[in-house]
């Protein structure tokens, strides 16, 4: 890995709500094509930070650049350059696979010919041809999850945010899903994962752990395990992340 390009640059990010400091001087960078795990206990300040990184909220102070755009002044540009997939499916259950792809393509501002081309690519890559005219509600869970991810990167964003991407799926589907994530990262798309599932964190290139509004650890899973002399990220997490107020 030479000449790593930064796609997220955060320097001294502070976000306050009244007297409450949700993000307290966060500083970190995320690189192109990296799989970055963003961890923390409930209430540690992750959601606040992600809202800022995705252009939904602006920082109180500090510098935040996402895909080259400033989170304080260019939020709209950030939104156009990111993708998002949450645990609860964002696909429309009563539309078909093909209709969902077309709908999202339209929302992301792709042209008609781009939509046709990318729909074909996506259906082939996922081997989804036999399902293209099926309603989402009739698909098994694993397929829905794969399709949600493919749709979240349909517009080739610089970064895609994933919230507990493989929660609740069976072990084989989980691995197929991670392989999709690896392929996507190899294409240069940065994967930003939030999860409570420490097994998922083990798959990331680097992880950060937040506690009480601050980042208290940031390294590769194996370096963190070495540093704390434990055998899993779960143990690292339990050692350093004390949940706020519970």
């Amino acid at each position: 890995m030479t000449m790593k390009k930064k796609v997220i640059e955060v320097e001294n990010l502070v976000k306050r709500f009244g007297h409450f400091t949700a993000n307290d001087r966060l500083s970190f960078d995320v690189y192109e094509g990296e799989i970055f795990g963003f961890l923390g206990a409930n209430g540690a300040g992750k959601t606040t930070a992600i809202r800022i990184l995705s252009g939904l909220s602006s920082p109180t102070s500090g510098k935040v650049k996402v895909a080259g755009f400033d989170a304080g002044t260019q939020a709209e540009m950030i939104k156009r350059n990111i993708g998002y997939m949450c645990q609860k499916f964002s696909l429309y259950e009563d539309l078909t696979v093909r209709e969902n792809i077309a709908l999202y393509g339209g929302i992301y501002g792709l042209s008609r010919s781009e939509i046709t081309e990318r729909t074909a690519q996506l259906l082939d890559r996922l081997r989804f041809r036999e399902y293209e005219n099926k309603l989402i509600s009739d698909l098994p869970l694993g397929l829905k999850q794969k399709l949600s991810f493919a749709v979240a990167v349909l517009h080739e964003p610089r970064i895609v945010f994933l919230d507990e991407p493989t929660g609740g799926v069976d072990p084989i589907t989980r691995r197929q899903f991670w392989e999709m994530i690896y392929e996507t990262a190899e294409r240069g798309i940065t994967i930003f994962v939030t999860t409570h599932y420490m097994d998922e964190a083990e798959y990331c290139d680097r992880i950060s752990i937040m506690n009480d509004g601050r980042i208290v650890a940031l390294d590769t899973p194996s370096n963190l395990k070495k540093q704390y002399n434990v055998s899993s990220v779960e143990e690292v997490f339990i050692k350093i992340a004390r949940p706020a107020g519970s």
């Binding site: 069976d170 072990p171 691995r175 949940p243």
Partner: protein, 311 residues
């Protein structure tokens, strides 16, 4: 040791979908029995049957020696149920919710306080707060307190730790372990494989079938093949390379490494050069111990092969 749940041949269909297919198991007194499996495996359907909220299409089930249809009223008094979705009254306070559940079951908070003290003390400082305003971890503790306040003999918890952070999850399991002292039997479900080790016995469940029922260690040890853990900076390339080798039986990503089994349980002598030919020059290989998830994967593959043969 008495049997608390005895189920044999349970089946349940919803329309064309078989949610449970011929399921048999038994749960003993004071044990923590975990159903481990993904969403849609049939865990919630099974739990609704155990708690008398749903009847199976066929098969038999006895809970605490009682019949689910004839004795359902008696049975419900003995069961504490925490459904997967938070189902307390959001617009009642913490204390009011607990009070409500105690009253419905004809008891008082004082009478059984000793049972919930360990858990409830964490949220007691917020007892005037509306339940809807609690954090995830606190909601979970309140729901558990409400399910316990009538001193049930059997506690049924449907995915109690989903969406809860790792620290709170670990505390939650500690609390469950302490319930053994009061002879309360716990049946719990989870999609998190790493929680299996916290149970006395587990059942792996997938597509409405039980793939295995035993102690977590025994389930793990059923994985008989030699398992190798291989690492490379280029993980995805490594997986593809391993899969293309004739000697490979299975290769699955496991966090930072790839878990691999080979034919004849032998690491190919020329593995380094085989991988180098595929462009992997930094592979580090160690033999590793299998976990529950390795066994789950193996069982899923065998079932898939059997289905293929019979189809």
């Amino acid at each position: 040791m008495s049997v608390v749940v005895q189920a044999s041949g349970l089946s349940k269909k919803f329309g064309q979908t078989a949610a449970l297919e011929d399921i048999s198991f038994s749960v003993n007194e004071s044990e923590i029995f975990g159903f481990i499996g993904p969403d849609g495996a049939g865990k919630t359907t099974l739990f609704r049957i155990i708690t008398t909220l749903l009847l199976p299409d066929s098969g038999e089930i006895k809970v605490l020696g009682l019949d689910e249809t004839r004795n359902f009223k008696e049975l419900r008094k003995e069961i504490g149920y925490m459904p997967g979705r938070f189902s307390l009254y959001q617009d009642l306070s913490v204390e009011e919710n607990l009070e409500f559940y105690a009253t419905v079951f004809g008891t008082t908070i004082e009478e059984n306080y000793y049972l919930i003290k360990d858990i409830y003390s964490h949220i007691e400082p917020f007892k005037k707060r509306l339940a809807g305003k609690l954090s995830g971890g606190m909601k979970q503790k309140l729901a558990l307190s409400c399910a316990l306040i009538h001193k049930p003999k059997l506690l049924v918890l449907d995915e109690p730790t989903t969406g809860v952070d790792a620290v709170s999850r670990s505390e939650f399991w500690d609390m469950l372990s302490r319930l053994r002292e009061y002879n309360i039997t716990v049946i719990v479900s989870t999609p998190y494989m790493d929680e299996a080790m916290r149970c006395d016995r587990i059942a792996l469940i997938q597509n409405g079938n039980l793939l295995a029922v035993d102690t977590p260690t025994a389930v793990k040890n059923e994985f008989r093949r030699k398992l190798f853990s291989i690492r490379s900076a280029e993980k995805h390339k490594l997986i593809i390379a391993l899969r293309s080798l004739d000697e490979t039986i299975s290769s699955f990503p496991f966090g930072e490494s790839v878990h691999v089994t080979f034919k004849n349980d032998r690491l190919p002598g020329n593995i380094d050069s085989l991988l180098r030919k595929k462009g992997i020059s930094d592979a580090s290989i160690t033999e590793t111990e299998s976990g529950i998830e390795d066994r789950f994967l193996e069982l899923m593959q065998t079932t898939a092969q059997q289905d293929h043969k019979t189809a």
